[in-house]
């Protein structure tokens, strides 16, 4: 690990001011991702700005949303009664993430900004456009089992690793940020960037911009929602495929639906095509299969990750069945 300086500001403005003085700085919240990346030499910030002294850990219902502070720990959000009752897809996504120890440390803000688990990104002996722009993509033509089939480019095919972000994509949550140029709100569908030819740019956050909170809209039918994660191990494993869904049912008919996929795409992948197919259709396996086909219509496998296309479809069908039951 590189030597680095350490700061522990006590206000958001002090935090982004510290950042402005050192553009290569990094914030540290739970540290479960950034410290790991520093140890394996993928990140080497000269300054680490510890934001844990900021008062950003509250979880409150405000109007039609649950307002979650960026420093709320995954465990606290997963155990929150409001979240469990109104938005089970969020609680389940969190409970299925990482391990209890990690969930006790990891924060909501950090989770949304965790980097990909692409093995080439994490290995400095290999090329990677995301880690070292223009060095090439090690994964293309290599070990592909965990790489994405949706939203890929010829420059990067890395899967976005967060479970929570998939649930938030289904909800279209709002990310609240602050920085030198003031406060702003970013809708989740605008927050993540497709890799294109700049895979190192992952979000629409500006340099030093700090996430202060995420608001989770209290979707009227949020109680009928779920998150299904498929993985090799029963626990403590990243998704091979996952689906976050919510259904608004009237008898056997679907009025509205929310669908997002994880484990298979370069960003948390909301599928408006699947939602359109589900709207006003009968809640049946047949409908669900058509929706799944639509969700994966543009998917592209490259050999070692071909299996993700049928797997994601099945995962989505099953998630919809669970939500409809």
């Amino acid at each position: 690990m590189n030597p680095f300086r350490y700061a522990r500001p006590s206000s958001p403005s002090a935090a982004f001011t510290d950042f402005a003085g050192e553009r290569r700085a990094r914030y540290v919240a739970g540290g479960t991702n950034i410290l790991d990346l520093m140890k394996i030499e993928v990140e080497s910030p000269p300054l680490l700005i510890d934001i844990n002294a900021l008062a950003l850990a509250s979880i409150e219902v405000t109007g039609d949303a649950i307002h979650v502070g960026a420093l709320a720990r995954l465990t606290d959000v997963a155990e929150n009664e409001q979240v469990r009752t109104h938005l089970p897809l969020v609680a389940i996504a969190l409970e299925e993430s990482a391990s209890p120890q990690l969930r006790n440390m990891a924060t909501i803000g950090g989770n949304l900004l965790q980097r990909t688990r692409c093995p080439y990104f994490r290995d400095t002996a290999t090329p990677c456009n995301k880690r070292a722009p223009k060095s090439g993509c090690g994964a293309l033509g290599g070990e592909l089992r965990r790489e994405a089939v949706l939203g890929t480019s010829e420059h990067c095919i890395a899967t976005h690793a967060s479970d929570l972000a998939v649930a938030l994509a289904a909800l279209d949550a709002t990310v609240h940020v602050t920085g030198l140029s003031g406060n702003r709100e970013i809708a989740l569908h605008d927050f993540y960037r497709l890799p294109g030819d700049t895979p190192h740019v992952e979000t629409s956050l500006g340099p030093g911009e700090l996430i202060v909170a995420v608001s989770l809209p209290l979707l009227s039918y949020g109680a009928r929602s779920t998150y299904l994660k498929v993985r090799d191990r029963a626990q403590y494993d990243f998704a091979l495929a996952s689906a976050a869904v919510a259904l608004d049912l009237s008898g056997k008919t679907i009025r509205q639906a929310r669908v997002a996929l994880g484990g298979v795409a370069t960003i948390p992948w909301r599928s408006l095509q699947a939602e359109a197919l589900l709207r006003n259709a009968a809640a049946s396996r047949d409908t669900f299969e058509r929706a799944a086909d639509a969700a994966l219509a543009e998917a592209r496998g490259r050999g070692g990750n071909d299996y993700k296309i049928p797997l994601a479809k099945r995962t989505l069908v099953r998630a919809l069945e669970i939500a409809a039951a």
């Binding site: 690990m1 590189n2 030597p3 030499e41 688990r117 093995p119 080439y120 290995d123 002996a125 290999t126 090690g138 033509g141 290599g142 070990e143 089992r145 498929v230 993985r231 090799d232 191990r233 029963a234 626990q235 403590y236 494993d237 091979l240 495929a241 299996y307 049928p310 797997l311 099945r314 995962t315 069908v317 099953r318």
Partner: protein, 693 residues
């Protein structure tokens, strides 16, 4: 003593030390003046080092020396005739596998060494590495552990041609890396021409002899101390490069050096289970009686060294079948040298053989357990020798009963648990067991305490506990009065703690020594003289050991559920019954069997080292991407030890039990998955993508 001590589920004597963090492992060793070393592994798998720029590393804080092939002490890395591995000791610029050691940075602290190691800039000339298992040139090894690699009894080919029922399939197992909780590590200290090593090893004496050859000194000039070993599973059975690198570094800087292998480096130069491809051909009568078995094995080896995964030994010594053929051949790849991993050959070989037996059972529609019974061998089929003991029938019966095998509906995909598919599968477990010469020193003190000392090691199996149990029972004194000392070449010589041989080897000489001491004390009228009684005792296998076939057996039963949509497999129940001879300690023995089963489940469902096929770079060299099971993946394995006295096997009457638990376990899971889904997965691990049908 009224209650026999041997067999009792005695707590480990070192248990409290281990769970409170008091126990000392190699990484905990502190010596005056100690400095720290970090190994720099190669970033390519084939080629040479063109240039090393160490200026930045040398300028980093705390750095004492950077050892590369330019300045490393000249030593002998060659493989001596009696040893098993070539070493990579910075003697030239060649690189032949990913993560080969190419430099060592020595600094005042571990952090400084680790940091400076990143600052070393190495320029390579990379050649295309051989990574293609199927296409790489292969050769037939001369022998496998002293036995022929190719062997035949009867005429398997002819028998197969005319067999009424034929099964012929190819099975694959991937490269798997050992991941004991404690990684490898060494502390090296020179005193003139004398070297002291603290090392995490399965064999202090093997390290002593090998390191002496590296430096061209006498073995007597080397002392190897082995503190507690935090697991090894075969990976610490031989001396790997870092041990010598630590000693070379200590020589170069004139200070004691500590070198701890990191987790990613566990995927470097310290061995792994090789990838295999196994063709199994079974010919049978319609009633299931085998007429022939052929088992042809390919297992990967490294560019300039040889290891054979002896898969076919399992099928050779298993069922009563007249015609049998086996072969082993080795493709050479740009990988590090493979080595023993728990149940070498049997774990992988049993997956192939016992999957094939399952396929045969379905083919002729008889119960898989009944098929095994119809081919039960009363004598070891190949050698024709009687077994010293064999309780396999009882294993089958007791495990089947506990598991309620009778509920099985034969048709695949016909049982359910809710919406999940339920599957039941079984397999036979078997592992040859043997012993080698060992020595102990026994001392009775005038205060009535007894010390048994032996240079064997403690790697988590419970040796200090079970040998104290054995000795105290014979001496008829309380267990607490016997202490077992271990882990030092200054103590009497013990064999390699591997191959399930330690209890049989050291146990037998402990029995001999304790018996001698008991008689001696009786001769002295029951008193111990003020300066005590001491004797060095040796024991070695005699003629008796040659006249019997010595094998541990077992029966493995797995119950799985499979999600019909997502292909996720979970093992929900596992029952294993084992014939392990006399059990020395019910608790530590249970742990051995359970540990074997856990690893078998892991082989079946999770473990696989994933290489980049272009570069031979390992892309999952960490415990986040190389999957081993979590608690949630393992049901509580139910173990039944079928105990029977085995007076023929050795004076301790024990069979080795460290490895038999893993054999057959992966096959039982694979067979259960077939029963649940109707999908036969012939290449491990069985991941969801293989069940999407």
């Amino acid at each position: 003593m009224s209650q026999p001590l041997v067999g009792a589920p005695h707590d480990r004597v070192e248990g409290p030390e281990k769970v409170t963090g008091e126990a000392r492992y190699t990484a905990d060793v502190v010596i005056e003046g100690l400095v720290h070393a970090a190994v720099v592994p190669s970033g390519i798998a084939n080629g040479r080092i063109v240039a090393v720029d160490d200026s930045e590393a040398r300028a980093a804080p705390g750095v004492i020396e950077v050892m590369t092939h330019h300045n490393a002490p000249r030593v002998s890395a060659a493989k001596p005739a009696d040893s098993d591995s070539l070493l990579f000791l910075l003697q030239n610029d060649r690189i032949e596998f990913d993560r080969q050691p190419i430099a060592v940075v020595i600094a005042q602290s571990l952090e400084e060494a680790t940091y400076a190691a990143q600052l070393l800039h190495v320029r390579y000339e990379a050649d295309h590495p051989e990574t293609n298992f199927d296409a790489a040139p292969r050769y037939v090894p001369k022998e496998i552990f002293g036995e022929p690699a190719t062997h035949q009894r009867g005429d398997p080919e002819k028998a197969f041609a005319t067999a009424p029922v034929r099964i012929e399939q190819t099975y694959r197992t991937p490269t798997e890396h050992h991941n004991p909780m404690e990684t490898h590590g060494t502390v090296a200290q020179w005193n003139g021409e004398h070297l002291t090593l603290h090392d995490s090893s399965q064999w202090a004496f093997g390290v002593q002899r090998r390191i002496a050859k590296v430096f061209g000194i006498d073995a007597e000039q080397v002392r190897v101390i082995v503190p507690y070993v935090g697991g090894a599973f075969g990976s610490k059975g031989q001396m790997w490069s870092h041990v010598a690198l630590a000693a070379m570094a200590a020589k170069l800087v004139g200070r004691p050096v500590k070198l701890i292998v990191t987790r990613p480096q566990m995927f470097g130069w310290v061995g792994h289970r090789p990838q295999t491809e196994q063709r199994v051909a079974l010919g049978a009568q319609r009633d299931g009686r085998l007429v022939c078995v052929t088992h042809d094995v390919l297992s990967e080896t490294s560019v300039s060294d040889e290891f054979v995964e002896p898969c076919a030994v399992f099928s050779r010594d298993l069922y009563a079948v007249e015609n049998y053929g086996m072969s082993h051949a080795l493709p050479r790849l740009n990988i590090s040298k493979p080595t023993y991993q728990r149940g070498p050959g049997e774990s992988t070989g049993s997956f192939a053989m016992e999957s094939a037996m399952d396929e045969l059972a379905y083919e002729i529609d008889i119960d898989p357990l009944e098929l095994r019974l119809r081919n039960y061998s009363e004598r070891q089929p190949d050698s024709g020798k009687p077994y010293s003991s064999k309780q396999l029938r009882q294993c089958y019966a007791r495990a089947a009963e506990r598991f309620d095998w009778g509920r099985r509906v034969p048709q695949p995909r016909s049982m359910n648990e809710g919406r999940l598919l339920l599957g039941l599968g079984m397999a036979t477990a078997s592992r040859n067991t043997h012993r080698t010469a060992a020595k102990v020193r026994i001392r009775a003190n005038s205060d009535g305490t007894v010390v048994v000392a032996c240079g064997t090691i403690e790697q988590g199996c419970g040796s200090p506990t079970v040998y104290a149990q054995l000795a105290s029972e014979i001496l008829e004194i309380p267990f607490e009065r016997v202490r077992f000392e271990f882990g030092d070449t200054n103590l009497p010589e013990a064999p390699l703690a591997a191959g399930s041989q330690t209890s049989g080897s050291v146990g037998s000489v402990v029995v001999k020594a304790a018996t001698w001491l008991r008689d001696k004390i009786a001769d002295l009228g029951g008193t111990i003289p003020p300066n005590g009684i001491v004797l060095d005792v040796a024991d070695e296998p005699g003629e008796n050991d040659e006249s019997y076939a010595t094998q541990a057996f077992g029966a493995q039963f797995a119950q799985v559920v499979v999600d019909p949509d997502t292909g996720e497999v979970r093992v929900v129940r596992f029952v294993g019954a084992f014939d392990g001879g006399r059990i020395l300690n019910a608790k530590t023995a249970n742990s051995q069997f359970v540990g074997g089963i856990v690893w078998g489940i892991s082989m079946a469902l999770f473990e696989k080292t994933r290489y980049d096929a272009r570069t031979a770079r390992i892309m999952n060299a960490n415990l986040s991407d190389y999957l081993v099971p979590t608690n949630a993946d393992i049901p509580n394995p139910e173990v039944i030890a079928i105990e029977a006295d085995d007076p023929h096997i050795n004076p301790a009457h024990v069979k080795g039990i460290g490895e038999v638990g893993i054999t057959g376990a992966a096959a039982a899971v694979a067979n259960a998955v077939y029963h649940a889904t109707g999908v036969r997965v012939r290449d491990l691990p069985i991941t969801p993508d293989k069940l999407l049908v």
